[in-house]
């Protein structure tokens, strides 16, 4: 038996760590969603299409700009020393994923903005001939290939960083897993594909995105299994942290919201949609988005709850 009494009473630290509230999970979710959208945009930009044929890849950069701005807004709200935020951009701390993330976010904006500009039809830009000429250059085959590559690379970096950001904070055993990076990336890809399916103007693209999303959801299930197996087998401290999701205070919300409603149910519905058994519905994609948000909330909150066992 060990009983620990302490006179410490610092806000956000005691009785259990709670430094991050809704802002961080929301940012991680929106960042992951944008990351997934960028990777899909990059892929769709490489697809051959008939002249005049519209693609959801034309809409995603615009939506990405809105989502990442909302995400960064949430991130800014979380900061306690807000007026000093510019300090992020006077340095690159090579060992800090948060520092890398700050710079990756700076890359996200121009890539999304160029992608958005490239989708503008001439009529929109008649009043700004210089911008119109630049937009036409962006529509060239070479520029499209480069933009597609930039979307994929920056999207993957953004998606993985949101997971590594947590896993680098080794004091929280639940986060001490290299799987978090790929898990958040795949979850972001899933959210991106689910949402793109809803707004895709073309039925063929909708089918393709559904198949992608099913693949992402199955991969996500596998990564969640690896995440838990890793925690359960690496040592006592991590196994205790895993119990938060396997019999602790976060178990119900994790298995019901994240795995059940966020992965298994939409996977089942979307499999029926792909098989042509039921018509397309927005229910499944909405559940995927809900599950992605719930995943970030559970991991961020439960991770803060986990700690190294005292002496």
């Amino acid at each position: 038996m060990i009983e620990l009494l302490t006179t410490r009473h610092n806000p956000m630290v005691d009785p259990t760590l709670h430094v991050w509230e809704w802002q961080i999970p929301v940012y991680l979710f929106l960042g992951g969603w944008v990351a997934g959208s960028m990777v899909l945009t990059g892929y769709l930009q490489r697809q051959a299409r008939a002249p005049g044929q519209s693609s959801v890849g034309d809409r995603l950069p615009w939506i990405g700009l809105v989502l990442i701005s909302l995400g960064m807004g949430a991130l800014f709200l979380d900061l306690e020393h807000k007026l000093y935020v510019w300090r992020m951009y006077l340095t690159l701390q090579p060992l800090s994923p948060m520092s890398w993330g700050g710079w990756i976010l700076l890359l996200v904006y121009p890539v999304l903005a160029l992608g958005a500009l490239a989708t503008l039809a001439d009529g929109w830009l008649d009043r700004w001939p210089a911008i119109a000429a630049f937009a036409r250059q962006l529509q060239s085959h070479t520029a499209t290939r480069w933009l597609s590559l930039a979307n994929i690379v920056v999207g993957i970096a953004l998606g993985i960083y949101t997971g590594i950001l947590l896993s680098s904070l080794g004091a929280r055993p639940l986060w001490a897993s290299a799987v978090l990076g790929p898990l958040f990336l795949v979850s972001g890809l899933s959210a991106g594909a689910a949402f793109a399916h809803v707004i895709a103007p073309d039925h063929r693209e909708q089918e393709q995105l559904l198949r992608f999303d099913n693949l992402f959801l199955m991969t996500e299930l596998g990564l969640i299994a690896l995440f838990l197996i890793g925690l359960l087998t690496v040592g006592a401290v991590h196994a205790q942290a895993a119990q938060l999701l396997l019999g602790g205070p976060f178990t119900a919300v994790f298995w019901v919201l994240v795995v059940g409603l966020g992965i298994l149910l939409p996977l089942a519905i979307q499999s029926l949609m792909v098989a042509g058994r039921i018509p397309h519905t927005i229910v499944a994609p909405l559940l995927v988005l809900l599950g992605g948000l719930a995943l970030r909330f559970v991991i961020v909150y439960a991770g803060q709850h986990s700690e190294w066992i005292s002496l």
């Binding site: 009494l5 006179t7 430094v19 306690e80 948060m98």
Partner: protein, 179 residues
């Protein structure tokens, strides 16, 4: 180059909290916050119980996760004494360092920056001891250069059984507790 550390004798510590009060006074620690604190661990089964009292604070680790995670370099290891400090003017209040510290040694100052024990560097640079060490009525706290084999802290560590807090966290803390 010095590498400061602390040795605390748990056989002598009575948990009087003088160190806590001295720190709050010396460093103007805001109400409702503390840079150091007292913990009591009761271990064993009745009737074989053991009570260990420890005066705790930032461990100024040799592998400080709070420094590596900091996105602005505000958390840093100072050359003099290899002490872990926070540059308030660089801190954005992201709280990554609070999450990265396995000891819960940091908090957010009401002005928005991360705050914690500094080993009273402003006193040490003047040749004084940290305030907590200075006021301890049982003389259970010792401060000095761990790299100097002749220092009091080095001799205590070499000759007495000791432990550190949460060694498995891999941070290589520099506060040693004598058993």
């Amino acid at each position: 180059m010095a590498r400061f550390g602390m040795v605390i004798d748990t056989k002598r510590c009575v948990g009087c909290m003088d160190c806590v009060v001295a720190c709050k006074t010396e460093n103007d620690v805001p109400d409702g916050h503390c840079r150091d604190w007292i913990s009591q661990r009761l271990q064993g089964e009745m009737p074989d119980l053991r009570l260990t009292i420890t005066s705790e604070r930032c461990n100024h680790c040799d592998s400080p996760p709070c420094v590596t995670c900091c996105p602005t370099g505000a958390s840093h290891v100072q050359d003099f004494g290899k002490v872990v400090l926070v540059d308030h003017g660089k801190c954005i209040g992201c709280k990554a360092c609070l999450a990265a510290c396995p000891y819960g040694a940091r908090f957010i100052h009401p002005e928005g920056y991360a705050d914690k024990c500094t080993f009273c560097m402003h006193r040490v640079e003047r040749g004084q001891m940290p305030a907590c060490v200075d006021v301890c009525p049982t003389r259970c706290m010792h401060f000095g250069d761990l790299d100097d084999p002749e220092s009091e802290v080095s001799r205590l560590i070499a000759t007495r059984r000791h432990f550190v807090l949460k060694p498995d966290a891999g941070t290589r803390p520099r506060i040693f507790y004598l058993e």
